[in-house]
Amino acid sequence: MIKILIVEDDDLTRQNLTNLLEEEGYIIYAACDGEQALSLWHEVSADIVLLDIMMPRKSGYDVCREIRTTNSKVPVIFISAKSEEIDIVLGLELGADDFLRKPFGRHELIARVHAHLRRREFTSGDVSFTFGIWEIHSTHLLARNDLGSVDLTPREVRILKLLHDRANQNVSREELLNECWGVDYFPGSRTLDQHISNLRKKVGDQWILTVRGIGYRYPV
């Protein structure tokens, strides 16, 4: 599971970022100031960090500097309303990988996060499982074959994993929702439809069959 550390002092922004990224299937750890961020960082060591700059007690620059002393590879994306050149240069000099300027939308946010996760180095153990004609790399959120690759969201990886584990069996909508979203999470049925529809576009219709009145099936 991919963990994201969100550090943002504005409550609403923090909540919105959490909601959006959780929905994509990421595990979110949220902090509202620099000190809390660092203690969370040492506790969970996230796969990617979204970091506000102007925060009480400890600024995003300080947090970034301390994260870099323990981990030089984790992608750090600064989020700020400030976008003057000096801010960006300072942030990048401190070891940040990117700078996301407010205001931004869901699409831009997710695209950036995915882009940085994909950039991580591939290792031999990364191939998670095969789905149809694809190799699914769960940590890099990629489906690859000889012809090319497509991006996946963590949620999509989970759906594919469940269908793969239950190959040639019918998987009910409830099971998919419970397994891939969690029992405490209540997405509308339209949400599942949309995810399946997106996945079919990405990996091909023939690998996700609809079973009327029940759910879906992965034919091997």
Partner: protein
């Protein structure tokens, strides 16, 4: 107007310099106007001048008398001379050029001249009674065959006749005689024991031009002479001139100096006052810009929250009506975000700080898609169709924020001005030498006379078209400036149909 601190210092300093130079110029002008140069004459006693004149006049008269007597004696000798010795006496007399002896008949006009031609100035010659001096060749007409006058330049004759049928006529050259007399006068004047002026200038001249003697400071003769005595002798006019010494004094008129100083002072005070007002206004404007800047920055966080919330809700809303509302919220938030960015970029530009933040390789196709996504709902609503084409490499090294802002502003223009049912096209082309983005629509277009104006800040064409359309007139001017910062230019391309904007960035 620009608002950076260094600019303020620069402008203020320039104003100070101008004021100071103006004040100094006024002072210098007043100094020259107040300065007055006066030349005064210093008068010395000039009784010596009269003495000198009297002495020289007497000398000239005596010389002329001597010569007259000599001419008369010569005529007598010629009268009495034997046939073979005629001309000998005349040859030894100054100024006698020719001798003519009439022994049988005196020409008529010479005979007549005895009665008619004596001029007042020649009276001394006539009174001798033995001969006549006559002045003019006109009167002494030559004989019909012209034989007896061989030198035409001679101006005077002496005629001696003792009976009606015989005469001796001497042709006289008064210039030659005058030359001799002038030389004598020069010697006399050099040797004169009369007091000469220690200062001042004295000159003696004969006739109008011939300067016989001068002494003293010659420069003084640029003034009109102070004393002038003229003497007329038989041979001409003798002039004595004297100039008193001149002394030049400079003095200053206090009133003008005081007025000049006052004017300079007022100029300095006015300059200082303007400078202070200028700084005050300038700081006020700068604080307004920084206020707008701060507010715009503050707007970014709530905008982010609105956009993220609407993005999040969009997924979960079942009802079409609710989805429409959410789309509107998102659309308007993006519009607000564009305005905030334009205002911020404008204030950066005013402060001279509009420079690309970070350049890296971007996928133009993705950028295009992201920008178009913001406009999809409004384009759909207005039935504006849009077509995109990417030629060549889609990866381009640039500042994505700047490029996106330019594209968003151009798309916003299409949304505002192209009109319903219009169609638009975006062509992106990357070659080894340039990056080109062409955004065209088939709307009403922009008249050529507005082609440059539309790129000026706060400028919006034809208010009748635009009364229903919102906007501050910043989008195109800022976009062009962003294009410059990316090393290219944004231009309105000539088009028969609709508006066509081209962003061209040279890659060399």
């Amino acid at each position: 107007m620009s608002f950076s601190a260094s600019d303020l210092t620069h402008r203020t300093r320039r104003l100070q310099y101008v004021t100071f130079i103006l004040a100094v110029a006024i002072l210098i002008a007043a100094f020259f106007l107040a300065r007055k140069q006066e030349t005064q004459k210093i008068v010395h006693d000039t009784t010596w001048l009269n003495e000198e004149q009297r002495l020289l006049a007497g000398f000239v008269e005596s010389l002329e008398k001597q010569w007259r007597d000599t001419v008369a004696a010569t005529a007598e000798l010629e009268w009495a001379a034997e046939e073979g010795q005629r001309g000998e006496a005349a040859a030894n007399t100054f100024g006698v050029k020719q001798v003519t002896f009439f022994k049988d008949k005196i020409p008529e006009h010479i005979a007549l001249s005895q009665k008619q031609t004596t001029l007042p100035i020649l009276k001394p010659y006539v009174t001798g009674g033995k001969g006549d001096f006559l002045l003019s060749q006109e009167i002494m007409k030559p004989s019909v065959d012209g034989s007896w006058i061989s030198q035409s330049a001679i101006l005077e004759f002496y005629i001696l006749h003792k009976n009606p049928s015989r005469a001796v006529v001497l042709l006289l050259d008064r210039e030659e005689v005058l030359g001799v007399i002038v030389e004598e006068v020069k010697k006399k004047i050099q040797a004169s024991s009369h007091l000469r002026p220690e200062h001042g200038y004295f000159e003696v001249s004969q006739g109008n031009i011939s300067l016989i003697f001068q002494s003293g400071d010659e420069k003084l003769n640029t003034y009109p002479s102070d004393e002038k005595i003229r003497h007329f002798s038989n041979l001409g006019e003798w002039t004595f001139r004297y100039w008193h010494v001149r002394e030049t004094r400079i003095h200053y008129r206090m009133s003008i100096l005081v007025i000049g100083a006052l004017l300079a002072f007022v100029t300095l005070i006015t300059g200082w006052w303007f400078d202070r007002e200028y700084q005050r206004i300038f700081k006020l404007a700068a604080s307004r810009v920084s206020f707008v800047n701060a507010v715009s920055h503050e707007l970014r966080t709530p905008l982010t929250n609105i956009i993220l919330s609407s993005d999040f809700m969009d997924e979960s809303l079942e009802s079409l009506r609710n989805q429409r509302s959410i789309h509107q919220i998102r659309e308007e938030s993006h519009r607000l975000a564009r305005m905030v960015e334009n205002v911020l970029n404008f204030s950066r530009f005013e402060a001279g700080k509009l420079i690309p933040n970070q350049r890296h390789d971007i996928d133009v196709g993705v950028l295009l898609e992201n920008c178009l996504r913001q406009f999809k709902p409004s384009f759909d609503r207005k039935n504006i169709s849009i077509e995109t084409e990417v030629k060549g490499a889609s990866v381009f090294y640039t500042d994505p924020d700047f490029l996106a802002q330019i594209l968003l502003n151009l798309l916003s223009n299409i949304e505002k001005y192209a009109g319903r049912e219009s169609s638009a096209k975006i062509l992106v082309e990357t070659t080894a030498s340039h990056f080109r983005m062409l955004v065209e629509d088939d709307g009403p277009g922009i008249a050529p006379e507005y082609a440059q104006r539309i790129f000026k800040s706060f400028e919006r064409i034809d208010e009748t078209i635009l009364t229903e359309v919102s906007g501050a007139g910043l989008g195109l001017s800022i976009s062009r400036e962003l294009a410059h910062q990316l090393g290219g230019d944004l231009t309105l391309e000539p088009s028969n149909n609709g508006a066509s904007f081209q962003l061209l960035i040279s890659l060399n």
